[in-house]
């Protein structure tokens, strides 16, 4: 078995895993695209290894293998950055939800106790009805 055959087999396994994850909805398509693209590139290079040699001499890299490693590093970096971005937006969403939960809990407590003793403002100004508390976003 040649090294290329091994690479192709590996890619096959990776692709099947990704497709299975997509089918069972444990992976969203926006994250799968990058991995499928990587797998596609590996397949192409595995089938036509000469492409890698041509590309290496084109960009001036002495050892084709180094080009492959470098590209692999870049791909991982990009994916990591994408994850960082996603985590940041998840945190922002979590924060908004936490805030909303706290505000709702406050309202629930007020409704349960049926008192407005801690709410002088709501009554001080009749133009601001109680109902305006909830609907805004």
């Amino acid at each position: 078995m040649t090294g290329y055959g091994f690479a192709l087999a590996l890619v096959g396994v990776v692709l099947l895993t990704i497709i299975q994850l997509l089918r069972t909805r444990r992976l969203r398509e926006k994250y799968a695209t990058a991995w499928i693209a990587v797998a596609f590139v590996v397949v192409v290079i595995g089938v036509f290894p000469d492409l890698l040699f041509a590309l290496a001499s084109l960009v001036g890299v002495q050892t084709p293998l180094n080009l492959l490693f470098a590209l692999g590093g870049v791909v991982l970096l990009v994916v990591c950055i994408q994850f960082s971005v996603e985590i940041t937006s998840l945190e922002a969403e979590t924060r908004t939800l936490a805030e909303e939960v706290a505000l709702l809990r406050h309202d629930v407590r007020r409704l349960q106790t049926g008192t407005d003793r801690a709410e002088p403002t709501a009554h001080a100004d009749p133009s601001r009805a109680e109902g305006t508390d909830a609907g805004e976003s």
Binding site: E99, R105, R117, A118, P120, T132, E136
Partner: protein
Amino acid sequence: MPSTSLERVLLVLPAWNEQDALPGVLDEIRETLPGVGVLVVNDCSSDRTSAIAHAAGVQVLDLPLNLGVGGAMRAGYHFARDHGYDVAVQLDADGQHDPAEVPLLLEALDAKGVDVVIGARFAGRGEYDVRGPRRWAMRLMSWVLSRITGASLTDATSGFKACGPRAIALYAVDYPAEYLGDTIESLVIGARAGLVVTQVGVRMRPRAGGNASHNPLKSLIFLVRAVVALVIALTRPKMSVHDRAVS
């Protein structure tokens, strides 16, 4: 006395594990500012902070996650906006800020067109003492933020702040939760959205528990993080108060 009725003013107290200091602060508020709205934002404390605040009969927001001061304050501004308060004052639950100084802030806020008033420590009153790199960092921040806001600020990192309706509307949707975001970046956001910032000198008390770090290495880290926070804040896309404000 300022013309804003105290009933239209909400004191927001971000509190994280402040069961020891909180009762004293709440008592003091009751004595010095009768009728004022009080909101304790319990930042997921593991102690009795929430129970104490509920027992005191003030309004309480119990955050289900620890969000930090910035997160707690945005929840507070959100509350202030939804409940129609005209002014929101940030007051530390550790007793560092004296409630008796709040009327000074409100007075300054009454001036025409002022949106944010900072209670400043180094403005001639009180004897708040910070030395070394930390002080330089605070000075540098104040100098830069004075340029940005167009006001003469001596203590930009103070958490003692009063916000008018326009500032509340802005901060209810855009108040950073990052480290130093609640002081430095929030002022940048405000200034760039067209809010008018000013300051008054206040007396600050030593914190009830713990002390500001005077470790040089920590101070240096503080300086670096402050500069990073500032640079990032300055390069963020602008946000207008009119874009997001809820009238």
